[in-house]
Symmetry: C2
């Protein structure tokens, strides 16, 4: 019995999906049971990478959503509207939906999930995070026995490509970005990538699944790589670190202290989370440190599984189409069970089961990398060290770099550059210390401040 | 509605599973619906890591399998029998089975799968490969849209621990093995690990799922690390490689040639596979090269997904219990659909859908690392190079090492050691070349011969 597929969009990803459906040989036999019934495109006359029966093409997406021969609606048009409305309309028509649209899911995921649960259909989103990497379904279907402690990932290929080249070549951000745009690795308007918004969308989605509760997307502290200087990538490298744009969601333990043993997991189902996106110094031995170029990787830490990592191509027509088809197959597979209409598998449906609150970032604890521009005078390191110590901030290392002659873009002039890496400290205390240090007459400015694992 | 769980075995993994079931807070709410109903143990009086109601314990495993209150039977006793018979008995009783028993599945997987399909129940095996790493279900549920080109993995933690230490310390195999046994990373009888049998079990299982056909376990060419010499690990390192015990299953293309473009994927569903286990030189940039210690990783290459990798702890009570509980949750989740008895989701059931034939290894193509002990005479490298060339074997590098004074365990004496790395060549042609080279009067012996990626 064929399962009717309707496509909203026939861009890169849509054409990749159509190509898989058109060549089922050698793939799982269920692919052969998927029948492409209708495709909404903006311009039916446009030349396409995949050849389709032209009678399948329509310009009105409602004709796809409303077609009784379409069992599963695949939304790969992107953008917030009309994508959101069409997804809701498909759900209302009793159809399961597959979407690669992280922006819609990160913003309207609750509304969409509630509508799907009420109507008894699935909305699957494997392609929304990590391109072809199986990460959404493993989180839902393979790690449910765990208490998730942390999800951290390199989830934006554009910024990882830029950072990899900055590290390898010592190149400046703006130069690499321009080159990435020429090569098609970065959009003409790169804001969503380089300012961290895309990564924040994705960590909102991952955290929602990992912790079973809704994440307030707009409350996620987000810092991109657009103000990162080449010298900080270089200094980090000299100190044994690589700089990556990390998206992190970790369980917040109020009692955490560097010396105390890990706090026991609270029995209550509600959970406080520290969710954020920022450039991060990773020790070179960290599992995510070796993930270079446009690849993505997501590290999941749980009790009792320990650390598991998922690695692969974070974007591209083929990988993303692979993830979209995986979702279609999951819905098609379960549809063969002949279960009563509206009955849902709770793992695949991924309904929310607790409250997730984002903690005030002032209360979170992190290690920090700070680069200070100072006067080139004897005793400066001592004064900075003392100021951190007085504020109760423990320091791992202080290193002075020769800044004279190598005018930094921050205008170091002929002063000194001092790089401090702290031990773990509460953010509020660190900020207090930084204010005290900025007030020292020898300190000209805080040129960079990055989180460190 | 509670779902009754019966455990066969309460060793490390069984106790880990019981511990998760006994503390559902903070895990997926479906865990709270699992009720441990009966546990078969050898000695009910033994002290255990997990405290259980003693009335749950029985010594006769048939009481678990036959208990009408048990819906899902979890086999974590290990060994071939009575594990195989109990799994079949549970299936006959209409119960789904979760097992971590790679030896049983690699040998009797077809018999068990046929029985499960006939009875309309699931046999899930996530814990059988890769410990806590989600790999079995992603292969079944997330990559079905792909044509799988290659599955390669580090799937045995014991040998990877030994190889990691040999590489880091330049230590001899026997010394590291003895140390690993003291530390509990290797069994008193390490044969199944160090001779590659465990890895062969696992690649048989992975290949069966990736390619959708049964793999003849006993036909897999298997070479362990038990004859690997420290100097080959060292030389490999100097040449830019690391040595790993790889388990590989790749689609065999008869027309493959190093110069020809990749052959098109045949339209027929049947597939010829090159499946093998052997110590392998990996370029340091290979995604699997950085996987050290007792970790496991599996790299899946498919069209159109490209390369995706799954990394994590390959063994241990917690990780393995995480995988077992994942399987239980998948069965429990689908059971909530109220589908007619006997109906199966084809993805979760993973029924076979084509024939897989293992190709004659003489026809397979690989790169090779060869270490030759030779007389220390001028012109030897030239003669060896010429002999390879005459046989049509293209060479990437020939390096002569100083063997005099550093008597190798192969009895190099005061001769020379010559290490050759070939380009890709058909195995039969390579063996012919090696025979011709061994016949050279200057060549004393082939001291080592390893595959190279």
């Amino acid at each position: 019995m064929a399962i009717g597929i309707g496509l909203l969009g026939l861009g890169t990803v849509g054409a990749g999906v159509a190509a898989i459906l058109a060549s089922p040989e050698g793939r799982h036999p269920l692919v052969g049971q998927l029948a492409l019934r209708r495709v909404a495109v903006r311009d039916p006359g446009r030349a396409r990478a995949v050849s389709l029966d032209p009678t399948l093409l329509v310009t009105d997406p409602h004709l796809v959503v409303d077609d009784p021969a379409v069992d599963i609606v695949v939304e790969v048009m992107g953008g917030l509207e009309p994508a959101r409305s069409l997804i809701l309309q498909a759900i209302a028509a009793g159809k399961s939906v597959v979407t690669a649209n992280k922006a819609v899911i990160a913003r309207y995921g609750e509304e969409i999930a509630a509508a799907a649960a009420a109507r008894g259909v699935y909305v699957l989103i494997e392609a929304a995070v990590g391109g072809g990497i199986p990460i959404i379904e493993p989180l839902k279907q393979s790690l449910g026995g765990n208490r998730i402690l942390r999800v951290s990932g390199i989830v934006n290929g554009t910024t990882n490509y830029i950072l990899s080249r900055m590290a390898a070549e010592g190149a400046a951000y703006a130069d690499v970005l321009a080159d990435a745009q020429r090569l098609g690795y970065a959009e003409a308007d790169p804001a969503a990538d380089v300012q961290g918004g895309d990564a924040a969308d994705k960590i909102a989605i991952l955290a929602g699944l990992a912790y079973g509760g809704s994440i307030e997307r707009s409350a996620i502290p987000t810092e991109g790589i657009d103000r990162l200087e080449a010298r900080d990538v270089t200094y980090a490298n000299q100190l044994g670190y690589v700089v990556k744009l990390l998206a992190v969601a970790e369980r917040f333990e109020a009692s955490a202290s560097p010396d105390a043993p890990p706090a026991p997991v609270p029995a209550s189902n509600d959970v406080a989370l520290d969710v954020r996106v920022h450039p991060t110094l990773l020790p070179r031995s960290h599992p995510l440190a070796g993930v270079d170029g446009v690849n993505n990787a997501i590290l999941v830490e749980g009790e009792p599984v320990g650390q598991v990592m998922f690695f692969g191509p974070g974007a591209g027509a083929g990988p993303t189409a692979s993830a979209v088809v995986a979702d279609i197959l999951n819905i098609a597979g379960i549809s063969q069970l002949g279960a009563p209409a509206g009955a849902l598998d709770p793992l695949l449906a991924a309904s929310r089961w607790r409250q997730c609150a984002l903690v005030d970032s002032a209360r979170t604890r992190h290690r920090n990398y700070v680069r200070l521009l100072t006067r080139d005078e004897a005793g400066v390191i001592g004064k900075i060290g003392t100021a951190f110590g007085t504020a109760g901030v423990s320091i791992q290392s202080i290193v002075q770099y020769e800044a004279s002659g190598s005018a930094s873009s921050s205008g170091a002039g002929s002063g000194a550059e001092i790089v401090v890496i702290t031990h773990e400290v509460e953010e509020s205390r660190f900020r207090q210390a930084l204010a005290a240090i900025t007030a020292l007459p020898e300190v000209q400015t805080v040129a960079a401040c990055l989180r460190t694992l």
